[in-house]
C-alpha cells in the first residue's frame, strides 16, 4: 500500500474514516516509520491543543452585552403589552375621561331659560352695558349683554 495523503492521516487520527480505510491505514502505519512518525506528531499537536482550557468570558460579560443590546433598542421586555399598546390604551382612557367629564359638566354650565330670555330682551332694547368696558353696540350675541351679570 502506498503512503496515505496527509489529509487522510489527519482524518485517521480524528477517527473520521470508515472502518475499512481506517484498518488499512493502521496496517500501513505499523510498517511505515515515516507515516507512523507523522501520525504520532499530528496526534501530539491535537492532544496539546485539546488540553488547553478555553479562556472564559468575564464575570459580567452577559450583563454588559445585554445592556449594550438594550441601549441599541434591539430587544424588548417580555411583558404582555408592548410600549405602543400601552400608549394607545392611555390615549383611549384619556379621551374617555374627557368625554365623560364634558357630558357631566355641560348641563351645569347651561344658563336657565329665564336668564336667557332676559339677556335677549336687554339686547333688543339696546340697553348700554358699560360694566366690563364693553358696549352693547359692539356685542355680537345676547351673551355679551350679560357680561356684567352673574351667570350661574
Amino acid at each position: 500500500m502506498r503512503c496515505p495523503k496527509g489529509k487522510e492521516l489527519a482524518a485517521y487520527i480524528d477517527g473520521e474514516l470508515g472502518p475499512v480505510r481506517s484498518r488499512q491505514i493502521a496496517i500501513h502505519i505499523a510498517v511505515c516509520p515515516g507515516c507512523a512518525r507523522t501520525a504520532e506528531s499530528l496526534q501530539a499537536v491535537r492532544n496539546l491543543l485539546l488540553s488547553q482550557p478555553r479562556p472564559p468570558a468575564g464575570e459580567w460579560f452577559a450583563e454588559r452585552t445585554a445592556s449594550r443590546m438594550a441601549g441599541l433598542s434591539l430587544v424588548r421586555r417580555s411583558t404582555p403589552l408592548s410600549r405602543q399598546k400601552t400608549a394607545a390604551w392611555g390615549i383611549v382612557a384619556m379621551l374617555a375621561l374627557c368625554i365623560g367629564t364634558a357630558l357631566i359638566v355641560r348641563p351645569w354650565s347651561r344658563p336657565d331659560e329665564s336668564l336667557l330670555a332676559r339677556c335677549v330682551e336687554r339686547f333688543e332694547q339696546g340697553v348700554e352695558q358699560k360694566e366690563g368696558g364693553i358696549s352693547l353696540e359692539r356685542c355680537t350675541s345676547p351673551w355679551d349683554a350679560v357680561l356684567g351679570e352673574d351667570v350661574p
Binding site: G6, K7, L9, V45, L48, Q52, P56
Partner: protein, 198 residues
C-alpha cells in the same frame, strides 16, 4: 435539546430580552473563546468583538432556519465578525503607516503577541507560557488554516460543522487541518517533545 432550541429560537425571533440573556449565558464562553483564539486578541478587545457577535446574532436571528444547530450558526456569525475585524485592522494599518501596509495583519498580530510574551517571562507559569506560545504559533497560520484548527482541535467541532462555519467542503477542512497541524508541530516542537517525554 432540539426542542429546547426551537423554543429559544422562537422567543429570540419575537425579540424577547430574556431569551437573548439565555443565549448569551449559554454561549458566552464559546464565543469569547473563539474570538480570543482566532484573533489572538486581548481580553477587553475580545469582549468587544464577542459582544458585537451577539448583537449581530440578535439583528439577524430571522435568518436562522434551523439547518444547522444554533451553536454552529452562532460560531459562523462570530467568525464573520472576526474576519470583519481582521479586515478593519488591516485597513487601519494601511491608512496610518505606510511601512506597516506591507505587513500582513497576522504578522502584526504575531508581533503584538511576541511583545506581550516578552513582558516578564519569569513571572508567568509554565502553563501560561505554553498558552502564549500556542497563541503565537496560531498567529503564524493563515486565517483560513487557523480557523479550521481552532474550530476542530480546540473547540472540538466535527468536520461537517467546521465546513459549515468556514464555508468550505469537508475535504478542504481535512487538507487545511493537516497542513495547520504540520505547521504547529514545527512551531511548537519544543513543547510537544517535552510533553511526549513526560
Amino acid at each position: 435539546m432540539r426542542a429546547l432550541h426551537a423554543d429559544l429560537v422562537a422567543r429570540l425571533k419575537r425579540g424577547d430580552s430574556e431569551a437573548f440573556s439565555e443565549l448569551i449565558h449559554t454561549y458566552q464562553d464559546r464565543v469569547f473563546g473563539l474570538v480570543c483564539r482566532y484573533l489572538g486578541a486581548a481580553s477587553h478587545e475580545a469582549e468587544d468583538i464577542a459582544q458585537e457577535a451577539f448583537i449581530r446574532a440578535c439583528t439577524r436571528i430571522h435568518t436562522f432556519h434551523g439547518d444547522a444547530s444554533l451553536g454552529t450558526w452562532l460560531y459562523r456569525i462570530t467568525c464573520n465578525v472576526c474576519l470583519d475585524h481582521l479586515r478593519r485592522r488591516q485597513r487601519e494599518a494601511a491608512r496610518f503607516c505606510a511601512e506597516e501596509a506591507a505587513v500582513t495583519g497576522r504578522q502584526g498580530l504575531a508581533a503584538a503577541l511576541q511583545t506581550d510574551s516578552r513582558a516578564g517571562p519569569e513571572s508567568v507559569t509554565e502553563e501560561r507560557e505554553l498558552r502564549h506560545e500556542i497563541g503565537r504559533a496560531l498567529m503564524h497560520l493563515s486565517p483560513d488554516h487557523r480557523l479550521v484548527l481552532v474550530l476542530h482541535d480546540m473547540e472540538d467541532l466535527t468536520y461537517e460543522d467546521v465546513a459549515r462555519i468556514a464555508g468550505c467542503r469537508v475535504g478542504t477542512v481535512k487538507s487545511r487541518l493537516f497542513y495547520a497541524r504540520q505547521q504547529m508541530r514545527l512551531l511548537l516542537a519544543e513543547y510537544i517533545e517535552t510533553r511526549q517525554g513526560e
